[in-house]
Symmetry: C2
Subunit: 150 residues, 2 copies
């Protein structure tokens, strides 16, 4: 069993929940194939396997994975979400291309510091943040509007 899958199993057990084959398969799939993915991406991937797992279970498991801290949920426009798993690597933010939907990750320690500063100036106990920079990626700039916006 993959290390990350084991971690999730431990999380499940610590919370007195049950470790099911569905949860194992979903978690495997999350850590096997994807980096950024939607719940539906995942559902489609899973539906190619022999064991059938419902959308509801996919959503419910992603919820747990998020609570466990192994997966983070990023909200996009129009109420859509994408997920990404965490390998213990640093928090990062995203550049999002409005043409092709590509996401580029970055991390900027200075911005993080400024955020902390602003929070404390406002007596605000920061629990998290979301920074998204929208624009057009280098590839799409070259291609000059061949792709439709997502």
């Amino acid at each position: 069993m993959k290390n990350e899958v084991r971690k999730f199993q431990q999380f499940i057990q610590k919370h007195n929940l049950l470790w099911s084959s569905e949860r194992e398969i979903i978690t495997e799939q999350v850590f096997d194939n994807h980096f950024h993915f939607t719940a539906d991406d995942l559902f489609i991937q899973l539906s190619k396997r022999d064991k059938k797992i419902s959308r509801a279970t996919v959503y419910r498991t992603l919820d747990l994975l998020e609570k466990s801290g192994l997966v983070s949920k990023i909200q996009l426009q129009h109420g859509k979400h994408i997920y990404e798993h965490i390998f213990g690597h640093k928090h990062h933010d995203h550049l999002i291309c409005q043409k092709c939907g590509k996401m580029i990750e970055f991390h900027c320690e200075d911005i993080e510091e400024w955020q902390k500063k602003i929070s404390s100036e406002n007596n605000f106990k920061m629990t998290g943040h979301s920074l998204k920079i929208y624009g057009i990626c280098a590839d799409c700039m070259k291609k000059k509007s061949k792709n439709k916006p997502k």
Copy 2:
């Protein structure tokens, strides 16, 4: 007619659209009463007036207001949006309280600069950005969890 309403009227006319009483009333309401508001907030406010305006028209007009640059649309969790109008004051970002939903505005020129730097490092043509810091505001920290999260 309010200055902002007039600006929107000019925008409408510049685009060969028609200036209707609905558009005037909605725009007035936007600039009269609200700072942060949802489409539904606005609809409810409007429904207290004598002239009845449908939700569809509210949404369609908010769309136009956003395109005109007089109103900006901010996405929250769960596919919800809030709007805020612009008085020509500087772009700002938000601290969002997870207890009471309060939003505190801030502007940090240094963060803006870093964003530009990161974009250009990635050959990314930035068109906009969204920075939200989540946490607990000072009031709610005092009240210690009396309010339910929104």
